[in-house]
């Protein structure tokens, strides 16, 4: 969940199911395309295995591949709404009493590409492997290494029932941890714990790992194929299967899954290859080397390249589900004072900062006034309006009113206490090296803070150092980086719940602590409806603004470019990426 392209497991529900379905239908109503053909998608990360749910291979590009291979219960469409995959699950029933229970009815036709029916056992296995419960182990007794346990760790049990054709329940086995759970059932009942209901239950059971195959080859490393014949390890339960993987060239070829029981994919094959750098993406499409390209970061130069390419290249720039922000380290002697944090926020002209940096590439970028929801999400509420306009006078007044800062002759405040006592009030801002937009942001911020009377020193680090040691160990004053989100809001809990709960709030690096916030976050994660969830999260966000925990800057723009010869390509700014509907792509 940060600036790398590592994906974040889908966590919670954002929109109502009805809204999601309508949005999907609307967004999928695109021109007719020819049947068959091949599309090549630029693959800009080296693959590290194929189990996208595993911590070692939890990559954005891998999700783009495997969501076409392994079946998913709910999709996130390009409008960031959710829709049920009725090819996999024909019906979902939800009840909240006595405990939250979700009942899935698996499509009777659903089978893995080796002919094995998709059953409750697959749900049981996927829960166990991502539950974080040490009682469940991988092949050979090794601990599972999931990328995340959110939601799965809240589940008390997953059981099957109603095996196909009226057959009786299989016994299951102790070794497979499914004894007595009716693993051959076609109905799956998921029960959450009485104290751990989970509002974002639709985020669960994405890209299901085939249970029988996982137990055979091992969940942690068994899907780290080498290519050249072992591709058959990756059974398919969706539109496409992995036809070939070339580890040395970092290329993957997907072909239509002949065993797929639903509407088949339109393209004959989808190739993931190229691994080019951002500047070469547009020429790559122009030359035909590849047809779809998603740069790691969006720049003005890239947009100009796309514009110059003319009608042969289509492109789209839209706000993504990730936002840039300033973290204020409350362990700092000065930043622990609310008025100091507020002074910095009032002194920051976010509109100017955007205009001078990211706004040059995406002029529609606006200041973000919510920590949980993005501007483009229906749950978004502008809770940070007070900070829409820079107010230098108010910022200075806030500092003076503490009676712990005096304005010096050089235009900088001088603290009357702490390590900077009697000196110019100085704070460091830290971010990742090698990121021009962040560097420019820091420089503009430095200039703006000078007007307030705060000296800002820019101290940047390599990404690994910043997130590996500097921020987690609290060795910073102000940090600028991005949180990468999904449509599911519960993933934010670990960022904003009280840092004293180290087990659950490990990402609260700013040392914020607030009981009301904890209560609201907990209630939101267990909300009985999406509307209540959104209301609670917005209340929690208001507390974050009131306490100026962090200052959100803007929703980061995401660019997608593709060859105009292809139709039905609908960029998706969420963590599922542009391939969310690749089964519908085709030549115009």
């Amino acid at each position: 969940m940060k600036m790398s392209k590592k994906i974040r497991p889908l966590l919670a529900v954002v929109a109502t199911l009805a809204l999601g379905m309508n949005a999907l239908v609307a967004s999928a109503s695109t021109p007719k395309v020819q049947a068959g053909g091949t599309v090549t998608v630029d693959l800009n990360e080296t693959l590290a295995g194929f189990n996208v749910n595993n911590v070692n291979s939890n990559e954005f590009v891998l999700q783009e591949i495997m969501q076409l291979v392994w079946p998913t219960v709910y999709f996130v469409n390009n409008k960031l709404a959710l829709t049920l995959n009725t090819d996999l699950v024909t019906k979902v029933a939800v009840s909240s009493k006595p405990v939250e229970t979700i009942t899935y009815t698996i499509n009777p036709k659903a089978v893995w590409s080796d002919g094995t029916p998709i059953t409750a056992d697959d749900f049981i296995y996927n829960w166990q492997s991502q539950s974080g419960n040490p009682a469940f182990t991988d092949k050979g007794g090794a601990a599972f290494q999931p990328a995340g346990t959110t939601g799965y760790s809240s589940i008390a049990s997953v059981k099957g029932s109603n095996p196909a054709g009226g057959a009786s329940c299989a016994a299951g086995s102790a070794a497979d941890f499914n004894a007595g759970l009716c693993p051959n059932g076609k109905t799956v009942t998921v029960k959450f714990g009485a104290k751990t209901p989970f509002a974002d239950w639709q985020s669960l059971f994405g890209m299901l790992v085939p249970a029988h195959q996982g137990r055979l080859v091992g969940w942690n490393t068994g899907f780290n194929i080498n290519g050249g014949g072992d591709e058959s390890t990756l059974l398919s339960g969706s539109w496409y299967y992995v036809s070939s993987y070339n580890a040395s060239a970092n290329t993957v070829v997907l072909k239509k899954n002949p065993s797929y029981w639903g509407k088949p994919g339109n393209l004959d094959s989808i190739v993931f290859a190229g691994s080019t750098d951002d500047t070469s993406g547009i020429p790559g499409i122009q030359s035909g080397t590849f047809n779809v390209f998603e740069p790691v970061s969006t720049s003005l130069a890239m947009i100009q390249q796309a514009q110059a390419a003319g009608s042969s290249v289509s492109y789209n720039v839209q706000p993504g589900l990730q936002f840039e922000h300033f973290d204020f380290n409350e362990a700092n002697a000065y930043l622990k004072q609310l008025k100091v944090r507020q002074a910095i926020a009032y002194g920051t002209d976010r509109s100017e900062l955007i205009a001078l940096t990211v706004g040059q590439a995406a002029p529609s970028t606006k200041p973000l006034n919510n920590h949980i929801y993005m501007n483009t999400q229906p749950q978004y509420k502008s809770n940070g309006n007070a900070y829409n306009h820079q107010n230098i006078a108010k910022a200075r007044h806030l500092l003076t009113s503490t009676k712990k800062f005096k304005m010096g002759k050089d235009g900088y405040f001088h603290p009357t206490y702490g390590p900077e006592k009697g000196k110019d009030f100085s704070l460091n801002i830290s971010s990742t090296t090698g990121n021009p937009i962040r560097s420019q942001t820091e420089q503009v911020f430095q200039f703006q803070m000078k007007k307030v009377g705060i000296k800002i020193n820019i101290v940047n680090y390599a990404a690994g150092d910043l997130f590996g040691t500097v921020i987690p160990n609290g060795r910073y004053d102000i940090a600028e980086f991005a949180w990468v989100g999904s449509p599911f809001a519960t993933g934010n809990n670990s960022i904003y719940c009280s840092y004293t709960d180290k087990a659950n709030c490990g990402a609260n690096w700013v040392h914020f602590k607030n009981k009301t916030e904890d209560k609201l976050l907990t209630e939101a994660a267990a909300a009985s409806s999406p509307a209540i969830e959104a209301k609670l999260y917005n209340q929690a966000d208001a507390i974050l603004w009131k306490n100026m925990v962090t200052l959100p800057l803007y929703q980061k723009p995401v660019m997608t470019a593709w060859s105009s010869a292809y139709g039905n390509i609908l960029p998706n700014a969420s963590s599922v990426g542009v391939t969310w509907n690749a089964q519908s792509w085709g030549l115009k």
């Binding site: 969940m1 940060k2 600036m3 790398s4 974040r8 497991p9 091949t38 630029d42 080296t46 590290a48 295995g49 911590v55 070692n56 291979s57 974080g132 040490p134 601990a143 290494q145 999931p146 990328a147 995340g148 959110t150 780290n224 070939s244 580890a247 040395s248 060239a249 970092n250 070829v253 094959s269 190739v271 290859a273 190229g274 691994s275 080019t276 750098d277 500047t279 070469s280 020429p283 790559g284 122009q286 030359s287 035909g288 080397t289 590849f290 042969s312 390599a462 990404a463 690994g464 910043l466 997130f467 590996g468 040691t469 921020i471 987690p472 993933g491 670990s494 087990a503 490990g506 990402a507």
Partner: protein
């Protein structure tokens, strides 16, 4: 000669040991390999604990070095952050890079010698000056700029003209290309031409300038004048007396530059999306993957030492006056 080679080998092993300590210390201290995991608030604590154990991060530095080193001498480079065997990855990426590097090195040598020779023989003429200007242009323009220019202004117009991929701008092969090696040769060529030209242009210029300079030195030497005075044919003087002697220092430079070519290949691979050693190394650095970074750096250390040795041996063959064993 044998004693000399053995002595140099022994020194090489010593240098390699020292390099391993330095490289390990620098890489191990360059950042926390758990950084990418810690930056994700959803990474379970149990997963982080397992990683700490797997990477021996709680052990003292010397102990970690010894664990790593004792495995490396047995050919085991450990596993990367993503759990894959580093040795196997190194192998597959090395073959990708070597395909580009070997071809471009051979072409660069021919081009450098030819250009240097033309320049020296036409010393002071407009040809010499023109060639020198071109050499300096390619010497000063960064590799990635050459790559981008070739892609945008050569590959794109050609591909658009023919409505098919004649010169591929990314990747080392089309995964859909079928058949045996010869049937796939056009596809390999399509993907290899531009990166190879890029690397050749980035490499040949310094060698050509050096070649021209050494040729002019030799051409003005006494023994060449004597050979000419003796009435030896100009062709024989050029081939036997001038070129052979002028190649000695150039050979050394080329051998010593080989590691530099690998460095250039890192950039070329990035520009052209080749999944070679460069990409492998950059991924390792970006992900703070200690074992990957160490494996690449140790490989380059071995290559530098080996090519130094080869340069010395080549001296002996090219210049009969050099008798290492009797020194």
């Amino acid at each position: 000669m044998t004693t000399y080679i053995l002595r140099r080998l022994a020194i090489g092993v010593g240098v390699l040991l020292l390099a391993s300590v330095l490289v390990f210390t620098l890489v191990a201290e360059s950042g926390n390999p758990l950084g990418p995991l810690l930056a994700n608030p959803l990474t379970p604590q149990s997963t982080i604990r397992l990683k700490i154990l797997a990477l021996h991060l709680n052990d003292p530095l010397w102990q970690r070095y010894w664990i790593w080193f004792s495995h490396v001498v047995r050919g085991d480079f450990g596993v990367s952050n993503n759990g894959l065997g580093v040795g196997h990855q190194l192998e597959i990426h090395m073959f990708v890079t070597l395909r580009m590097v070997i071809l471009s090195t051979i072409l660069s040598i021919f081009l450098a010698i030819s250009v240097g020779l033309i320049s020296a023989l036409r010393n002071g003429t407009i040809v010499d000056r023109g060639v020198s200007v071109v050499n300096f242009v390619f010497l000063s323009v960064p590799v990635f700029v050459v790559g981008l220019v070739l892609k945008t202004f050569v590959a794109v117009p050609i591909d658009q003209h023919f409505h098919r991929v004649v010169l591929a701008t990314a990747g080392e092969q089309n995964p859909l290309a079928a058949g045996n090696f010869f049937q796939r040769l056009p596809d390999y060529a399509s993907h290899t031409i531009l990166p190879t030209i890029t690397l050749v242009l980035a490499t040949y210029a310094s060698w050509a300038i050096y070649q021209r300079s050494t040729l002019l030195d030799v051409m003005n030497s006494d023994y060449v004048r004597l050979a000419r005075a003796k009435g030896i044919s100009p062709r024989r003087v050029l081939l036997r007396h001038i070129l052979r002697n002028a190649l000695i220092p150039v050979t050394t430079v080329i051998a010593l530059d080989f590691a530099g070519i690998l460095g250039g290949a890192v950039i070329t691979e990035t520009v052209y999306g080749w999944n070679g050693l460069g990409r492998f190394f950059l991924d390792g650095v970006n992900n703070l993957d200690v074992n990957v970074t160490l494996a690449y750096l140790m490989l380059t250390a071995v290559i530098v030492i080996l090519f130094n040795l080869m340069a010395d041996i080549a001296y002996g063959f090219l210049d009969p006056r050099i008798r290492y064993g009797k020194q």
